[in-house]
């Protein structure tokens, strides 16, 4: 068993209008801040146990494609870090 700490970020693809980002931008402007190009994403952090021979990158990519992101509209990045308890 190998243990990993995983962090995933999911953002709407750059060519798609990020409506939530636009709303946040307007609110920040209402509060008097000079901001542009606000985009909002989701982050996930979790621990993952894998059997010795599985490829962690492959598994996490699968997790992203199957649940955390819809590749048709989202882009995603992840970082994995091995750790011992």
């Amino acid at each position: 068993m190998v243990k990993y700490k995983v962090k995933v970020e999911v953002w709407l693809k750059d060519n798609l209008v990020d409506a939530e980002g636009k709303m946040v931008e307007e609110s920040l402007k209402d509060l008097g801040y000079n901001v542009q190009s606000v985009r909002v994403g989701k982050s996930y952090s979790f621990n993952l146990d894998l059997s010795n021979d599985s490829l962690v990158e492959k598994v996490v990519d699968e997790i992203c494609r199957r649940l955390l992101a819809n590749p048709v509209k989202d882009k995603y990045f992840f970082k994995v870090m091995r750790y011992e308890e």
Binding site: M23, E26, S27, D30, L31, G32
Partner: protein, 790 residues
């Protein structure tokens, strides 16, 4: 001052020997928000018990004796400037008195439970509650407004009703307020507007309860304090409404885990907003989770239908402390609570925090021992958490334990009876100079300007973000007809096997408060009823929601007393009972007190929804009638606002004229004589006729010299006076005589002022006979739909 108590997480407070100064210091250290008189009463109580209190006991008083929970001002003794009694207990002497004197058999429960109840038909009752959530929304508009909606839904669940509709009424500072003019610590109206609207939609949409009616207004009197009213209407089989709890029944908390959010909410709601509020009060703001509440709703209805509990209440202001004590009181007993049994969301909560936390989406049940297993099974099957935390007792003591230590032991009665407060009130009529001004030249432009103003324009940008169709029972929608015009009231058809409908409307005229809060209240009642009657409502019950400034200042209290007095006079006069309400006081900021605001919510019924009437014109060549009397009442009117004049006289209510108008409309709807009805409200005749035209494919031509008026000889006064009790009606031409004979029978004031046209346009002839308005339906629509872009 404070010592480490022997018990874990509990502090003993040295109170018995404290002098006044020390009491006040303690008050602010512990953030209790109690008055000196109250502190001394508590001190005496513990002297009698012969022991020092624990902190959790003091926090219990801070919650249970808060203005928010006990309505101390409304229940208090109010003196005039000379020390004579003005009124003792406004709630009893003005509000409840109406309902008691009217004594209708269809009022099932009023002014006592979580929501008011009226019967709907032989089998069902309607529960209604409207809440204010001003303070939390000022700090965190999204979370504050959302939890306001969540809270009022739980009020309705708390009388075993399933929620079927929501309303929201919002008041903000003008959206174009310059940033620079806003004091530190206060948020810009635009920011508040966006956040509040989003929060309300978020909660209602997620829960699947349609938001069907409401109002939005803008005034500089709200720059410092925002107003957020949220209302919920529910349906309950009448036999299922009741309270059967007995000593020995188990106390079960169901729903969200308890956390540190919303600590001190109730006492915060009764304090004044200032520069520090944002930092200091953030903890008082709760975190909304509508999906948990959606599960709660399913669970409550199942528990109700299978008779698995003997009592229910929501956990609102003051958290467990208030809910447990109030239920214990209804049983006529006390309660034993084991705080360590409560399911919590964070590990390091102190017992007093668990006791008064206002974490959202929790309900409290009393469950007979024999049913506890089935009760828990039902709750778990909806993926909800629940904990059995104690039981009700016969003796009238509230005892709270934490890991086997007794940490609170106070009598139920004492917790529920804060010392009565005595307050001074004074009201003096504002001195307003009547302004004189020329008649305008271009009425067309003026009407378009009014239509596109933030106060009158279409609420579509807001309403469309609320689901008003979910549950599939919304008959008359807030925006209705082919062109989605503004409805006067919403109609819901709650039962599948009945044509009977529910009619929901509101009345809100706060800007008249500057002239006279008495007539402001009267006008609000008249408007709420008018709106209801327009679509076919009758047998109307109403709710009052007051938002006022600091009642410790005699002028604020003086105007409040005047408004509450009008509530008695006009509810009684219109013969409509108050079934529920709420007050939010202490709405003050560095800019001064809030604009005094009264919301009247009206709930009526319509025997058959197929008779419901909307505002859009439905044919050409039909006569247009105006009922009621037009007076030179332009004080506070939208017209005066837009030409930036003050003064003028406030619209009054003539009960005889208003009632005969209303009866005329109701009877003609019943008999099917009318095609369209719209009341005259903001912007008067000029705006109402415009709204009827812009909602329809037909047009209208009217003559101002036909309007029944008194002391008016100007076109602008006829067009824009906001006199109460008036309706515009499209009468079916073959029933015109029948309409007239009902009007005459009722002694109504009325006249024919014009006709509908086949062209979608608006033509108005002035007193001199010339055409002063000639606008197309598209002109009107474009203007009306252009506003409220925040």
């Amino acid at each position: 001052m404070r010592n480490r108590g022997i018990r874990q997480g509990v502090l003993q407070v040295k109170l018995l020997a404290a002098d006044d100064e020390e009491l006040l210091k303690l008050n602010s250290q512990l953030n209790l928000n109690l008055s000196l008189k109250e502190l001394k009463t508590i001190k005496k109580y513990f002297q009698k018990l012969g022991r020092e209190p624990f902190d959790i006991e003091l926090y219990s008083f801070s919650q249970l004796w808060s203005e928010h929970c006990r309505h101390k001002v409304f229940r208090g003794l109010i003196l005039d400037e000379n020390g004579n009694i003005l009124v003792d207990d406004m709630l009893k002497s003005y509000i409840a008195k109406v309902t008691e004197e009217l004594n209708y058999s269809w009022v099932i429960s009023f002014l006592k439970d979580n929501a008011g109840l009226i019967s709907f038909d032989d089998e069902y009752s309607i529960a209604v509650k409207v809440e204010t959530h001003n303070h939390p929304s000022a700090i965190d508009p999204f979370g504050g407004a959302a939890t306001g909606v969540g809270g009022v839904i739980r009020d309705v669940l708390g009388v075993w009703a399933s929620p079927i509709a929501l309303i929201d009424v919002l008041c903000f500072g003008p959206l174009n307020t310059p940033y620079k003019s806003i004091p530190k610590g206060i948020k810009h109206p635009k920011y508040l507007f966006r956040g509040v609207v989003k929060g309300i939609g978020f909660y209602g949409n997620n829960m699947g309860i349609p938001t069907v009616a409401g109002a939005i207004c803008f005034d500089k009197g709200y720059i410092g304090n925002v107003v957020v009213y949220a209302g919920c209407i529910g349906l309950v089989p009448t036999v299922k409404y009741g309270f059967w709890a007995k000593p020995g029944d188990q106390i079960v908390i169901v729903g969200n885990s308890t956390g540190r959010d919303g600590i001190h909410g109730a006492s915060f709601a009764s304090s004044i907003l200032d520069e520090r509020s944002e930092e200091v009060s953030r903890p008082a703001v709760q975190i909304p989770d509508p999906i948990v509440e959606e599960k709660l709703r399913r669970a409550v209805i199942k528990i109700r239908d299978e008779d698995l509990a003997s009592g229910i209440t929501d956990l609102g202001g003051g958290g467990l402390a208030v809910a447990v004590v109030e239920l214990a009181d209804r049983i006529g007993g006390g309660a034993k609570i084991f705080l360590d049994k409560v399911h919590v969301r964070e590990s390091n909560l102190l017992p007093w925090e668990i006791w008064i936390s206002e974490s959202q989406e929790r309900m409290l049940f009393s469950v007979p021992k024999s049913k506890i297993n089935r009760f828990l099974e039902t709750v778990y099957s909806e993926n909800l958490e629940a904990s059995v935390i104690g039981e009700f007792t016969r003796d009238r003591w509230i005892r709270v334990y934490y890991f086997n230590n007794l940490i609170c032991e106070v009598e139920t009665d004492f917790l529920l009876h804060p010392p009565k407060i005595v307050r001074k009130a004074k009201w003096s009529k504002p001195i307003l100079v009547e302004s004189e001004f020329e008649e305008p030249e271009d009425y067309g432009t003026l009407i378009l300007k009014l239509l596109s103003s933030d106060d009158i324009c279409s609420r579509e940008p807001v309403i469309r973000t609320y689901d008003h169709e979910v549950q599939g029972n919304t008959v008359i929608k807030p925006l209705h007809g082919f062109f989605a015009g503004p409805s006067d009231a919403a109609v819901i058809k709650p039962l599948n096997n009945s044509w009977k409908g529910l009619v929901i409307s509101v009345g809100l005229k706060p800007w008249y408060s500057r002239l006279d809060p008495y007539w402001m209240a009267a006008s609000s009642i008249d408007e709420a009823l008018r709106n209801n009657i327009c679509v076919g409502g009758r047998r109307i019950a109403i709710l009052d929601n007051f938002t006022w400034g600091n009642p410790e200042k005699p002028d604020r209290l003086g105007s409040l007393v005047r408004a509450v007095k009008a509530c008695y006079d006009f509810a009684k006069g219109f013969e409509v009972p108050f079934i529920s309400g709420k007050d939010s006081l202490y709405n003050e900021s560095p800019l001064g007190p809030i604009l005094e605001t009264l919301l009247i919510t009206a709930v009526g019924i319509i025997p058959d929804i197929r008779m419901a009437v909307t505002i859009d014109l439905k044919a050409s060549k039909n006569p247009l009638y105006l009922t009621g009397l037009t007076l030179p009442e332009l004080g506070g009117s939208r017209y005066m606002q837009i030409i930036e004049h003050d003064g003028g006289s406030v619209p009054k209510v003539d009960l005889k004229i208003s009632k005969s108008s209303m009866n005329l409309i109701r009877e003609s709807i019943d008999k099917g004589y009318v095609n369209a009805v719209h009341d005259l409200s903001d912007g008067g005749l000029g705006i109402s006729i415009s709204e009827m035209v812009l909602s329809s494919q037909y047009g209208a031509e009217i003559w101002l010299d036909k309007v029944v008026s008194r002391n008016i000889n100007r076109d602008d006064f006829l067009l824009f006076s906001e006199s109460n009790g008036r309706f515009l009606v499209e009468v079916k031409r073959n029933f015109e005589d029948n309409f007239i004979s009902i009007a005459e029978k009722l002694g109504a004031v009325f006249s024919k002022i014009g006709y509908t046209l086949s062209n979608n346009c608006l033509l108005i002839h002035g007193l001199k006979g010339s055409l002063i308005v000639d606008l197309s339906g598209d002109d009107l629509r474009n203007a009306w739909k252009s506003g409220l872009r925040a």
